[in-house]
C-alpha cells in the first residue's frame, strides 16, 4: 500500500515564526525521508527526470534513500547538481520535477525537493565530499557574477581543470541567494557553506569588483584570461511608473530585501544598515519576490501586510508553498487590483490609490491580460509599500563590452550553450533569460562550462609555466 499523501515536513508554528527569521520548514528525519522515498514508483520512463532542468537521476537517488544509503544518494545528485541544499529548498518543484511525477496523477507527487534537501543537509552534517578537480590545463577563465549561474559554471570549470577567478560586485558572493531570498527560506549559512566548497575547489572569488567599472571584460582578456563567463543576473529593479513612487516609504523589493538579507537590517542597530517598516504594508506583485517581501515585512513588525496583485490567484507565479506559508502567517491578498498612484503627507507615504482589474484576452505569455475597470478606483491607507513587479537584466556588462549583442529587453543574446556574439565570451542565467529560476541559471552555467571547455581545447593551449 502506497501512502497517498506526502510525509509532512515539520514546520515552525506560524504564530511563532512571524517573530523570527529562522527557517520555516524543519527538514525530514532519516526515518521520514526513507518513508517518503518508499512512495516512489521507480518508473521506467521516469518523467520526473525530464521535468528537472539539470536532469538529476531522481528515481536513482530516491532508491538509495529508501535503502538508507544517504551517501550514495547525495553522490548521485551531485553528478548533475552542485547546489542541492539550495534547489531542494527553492525550486518551483510543482511546475518541474514534481509537476510531472507519475504518482501525482492520482495522489500527491513524491516530495522530490524535500528528499533532495534532506540528503544535502545530511551531507553537510556528515562530511562534504568535494567534486574532484581536473588536471590543470593552464587555461584561465573569469566568471563575472557569483549567483547560481556563476557558481555552477565555476565548479564545472574546476572539474575540467581550468583556473577560475570569480568577480563579484557586492561584498558577499551568492547573488540573489545572498541578497534576495530571505533567511527564513534559505539560511545564509547554507549558501556560505556552498560558496566555501567552491573556494576549496580552488576557484578564487574576488568581491568588490564591479565589472564594467573597476575593469572591463576587455581588460580581463588583456590580463591573460582565455575566456569569460557572464552570469551577472537580472538585478535592475522595475518600478510601476505611477505618481508618488519616490515618496519615503516606497521601496523596490531589491532595496527592501537587500537591506534585510545582505545588510542584516533586521538586526539593526547591532548591524548598521537601517530599515523602516510601518504598521500597514502593501506589497505589489505576485511572484516569489513579492511573497518574500510580504513575509519579511511581517517579521519586521508590520501589523498588516497586504499583497496587491493585478491578476488572480491562479496566475500567481510564486511557488505554491510560499503562497501557502504567506497565508498561514496572516498575509492578506487583494487580487485584480493595480496601484495608480501613491499618496503622501510631508514627503512620506500615507496611502495608495488602486484600480480594480478584470481579465481580458490572453497576452504573448498566454496569460489573460488584466484591464482596468473604469471608475473602480479606491484608496487604502498604508505607510510602507514594496514594489515587487520584477527585475530587468543588469545593464553594466552589456553596456561596457563592445561587440556583445544585446536584445531589446536588455538581455545578452546567447545560444543554448552560452556562446555570445563575442569570441571567448559566454553568458547564462538571468542575464540571458531575464528573471527566471535558480535551477535554470545553474543549468545554463553548467552548459556554458562544457562549451567553454570545448572552446578552450580547440584553441591554442597556453604555454606551460
Amino acid at each position: 500500500m502506497i501512502r497517498k499523501t506526502q510525509v509532512p515536513m515539520r514546520e515552525q508554528d506560524p504564530r511563532a515564526r512571524i517573530h523570527n527569521f529562522d527557517e520555516v520548514p524543519l527538514g525530514y528525519t532519516p526515518e521520514e525521508a526513507m518513508e517518503e522515498a518508499k512512495r516512489c514508483l521507480q518508473c521506467k520512463n521516469a518523467p520526473c527526470v525530464g521535468g528537472c532542468p539539470v536532469g538529476i537521476d531522481i528515481p536513482g537517488f530516491i532508491a538509495h534513500i529508501a535503502k538508507g544509503d544517504f551517501r550514495a544518494a547525495i553522490r548521485l545528485i551531485k553528478e548533475s547538481n552542485n547546489l542541492p541544499a539550495i534547489c531542494g529548498r527553492v525550486c518551483p518543484q510543482e511546475t518541474q520535477c514534481q509537476g510531472v511525477c507519475t504518482l501525482g496523477r492520482k495522489f500527491e507527487p513524491v516530495a522530490i525537493g524535500r528528499l533532495e534537501r534532506f540528503v544535502a543537509d545530511w551531507e553537510r552534517e556528515n562530511g562534504v565530499e568535494l567534486p574532484r578537480v581536473g588536471r590543470p590545463t593552464g587555461f584561465r577563465v573569469a566568471v563575472v557574477g557569483s549567483g547560481p549561474a556563476g557558481l555552477t559554471c565555476a565548479v564545472d570549470l574546476r572539474r575540467y581543470g581550468h583556473e577560475v577567478t570569480m568577480f563579484e560586485a557586492l561584498h558577499e558572493p551568492g547573488g540573489v541567494l545572498m541578497y534576495g531570498i530571505p533567511e527564513f527560506r534559505l539560511p545564509k549559512a547554507i549558501v556560505k557553506a556552498e560558496i566555501s566548497s567552491v573556494r576549496e575547489m580552488g576557484a578564487e572569488i574576488v568581491t568588490d569588483a564591479v565589472v564594467g567599472k573597476t575593469f572591463t571584460i576587455d581588460d580581463l582578456f588583456a590580463d591573460g584570461y582565455h575566456a569569460v563567463f557572464v552570469g551577472s543576473g537580472a538585478g535592475l529593479p522595475r518600478f510601476l511608473g505611477v505618481p508618488g513612487e519616490s515618496l519615503i516609504g516606497v521601496y523596490s523589493a531589491n532595496e527592501f530585501l537587500t537591506r534585510v538579507n545582505l545588510m542584516r537590517a533586521y538586526r539593526f542597530p547591532e548591524y548598521d544598515t537601517p530599515i523602516k517598516v510601518g504598521r500597514r504594508v502593501a506589497v505589489v506583485g505576485g511572484g516569489n519576490v513579492a511573497m518574500d517581501a510580504a513575509r519579511t515585512a511581517l517579521r519586521l513588525g508590520a501589523e498588516e501586510v497586504l499583497v496587491l496583485y493585478r491578476r488572480t490567484e491562479a496566475e500567481m507565479p510564486a511557488r505554491r508553498e510560499e503562497i501557502h506559508h504567506a497565508v498561514e502567517e496572516g498575509v492578506r491578498f487583494e487580487f485584480l487590483v493595480s496601484p495608480v498612484r501613491f499618496l503622501g503627507e510631508n514627503g512620506r507615504l500615507s496611502g495608495v490609490e488602486c484600480v480594480r482589474m478584470e481579465l481580458g484576452a490572453p497576452d504573448e505569455s498566454g496569460r489573460r491580460r488584466p484591464v482596468p475597470i473604469e471608475g473602480s478606483e479606491f484608496s487604502l491607507a498604508i505607510d510602507t509599500a514594496v514594489i515587487a513587479i520584477g527585475n530587468r537584466p543588469h545593464p553594466l556588462v552589456p553596456r561596457t563590452t563592445p561587440g556583445l549583442e544585446v536584445s531589446r529587453h536588455g538581455t545578452i543574446v546567447a545560444t543554448e550553450d552560452g556562446a555570445t556574439s563575442r569570441k571567448g565570451v559566454f553568458a547564462g542565467g538571468d542575464i540571458v533569460t531575464g528573471a527566471a529560476t535558480v535551477i535554470s541559471a545553474m543549468g545554463a552555467g553548467k552548459r556554458a562550462a562544457a562549451a567553454i571547455h570545448h572552446y578552450l581545447l580547440d584553441s591554442t593551449p597556453p604555454a606551460r609555466p
Partner: protein, 280 residues
Amino acid sequence: MYIIRKKQELGPQVKEYVVEAPLVAKAAKAGQFVVVRLHERGERIPLTLADWDPKGGTITLVVQEVGKTTQELGDCFGVGDALQDVVGPLGEPTEIDRYGTVVCVAGGVGIAPIHPIARALKGAGNHVIGIAGARTQALLFWLDRLREVTDELLVTTDDGSYGRKGLVTEPLKELLATRKVDRVWAIGPAVMMKFCSLACQEAGVPVTVSLNPIMVDGTGMCGACRAEVDGQVRFACVDGPEFPGEKVNWDLLIARLSAFKEEERCALERYRQLIKEATS
C-alpha cells in the same frame, strides 16, 4: 585589503584619508565615487573620489562626520587599519570638454569632490574660476590645492572669518552677470546646489550638480538612490551622480535624505554610549 596610508584632520569633524585601493585608483575619473564598508556589520556608504594616484595605488577621500558610520571612521580607524570594503569607481565620470570659461562652486566638504573636476576641466583647456565657501574659516580646507587647479579662486565664509562674508551664491551671481560663463559645476549640500542651480537657470547658463541621495549598493541594483530629473526617475549611482541642476527635483531629493532620520539618531546615540562605556 584597503589599508589607510594617511589620515589627516582638515577641520572640525572633517578628515582626509589616503587609502590603498589599486584597482580603483587605476580606473578612477573625475566625478566618480566609491562605496565603503568599515567592517562586517557596517553600512555601505558612498564617498566621492577627491583624488587618486594610479602609480601608488591609493585614493583620497575627504569625510565629514555626520552620523554613526562617518563618526566611527573618524574615531576608530587610523593609519595602518584596513577598511573592510572599498568598491568603485562608481557612477558616470564628469563630462570633460573644452567649454570655455567654467565656474566650479564648492560648498563645505564639496571642496573635495570639486577638486578633481576643476583639475580635469583646466587640463582640457578651460578657464576655471573656483568659488569655495564654508560656514566659517575652520571648515575651509585644500585652498592651496584648489588654487593649483583653478585660474581664479574666490572664497566666502558665512561669518566673514575668511575671504568674503556671505554665501557662495553671491559671487556666483555676480560672475554670471558680469562675465561670459559657459558652464557651472556646483557641489555641496543639497540646498546650496539648489540655489546655485536657480541662479544659473536665471542666467541661462548650464549647471551640473552632483547628487548625494542615500544609497545601498551603488551599482544600480536597489533604486534607493532614485532622484527625479526632468520629470523622470533616475538612479543617481549609475545614471549620475552628476545631473543638470536646473532639472533636478530638489524638494524630493532633500525630503528623501531624511528617510531614516530616527534610525540614524538611534544608531549614533547607541554608538556614543558604547564608546563611553568602552573608554570609562
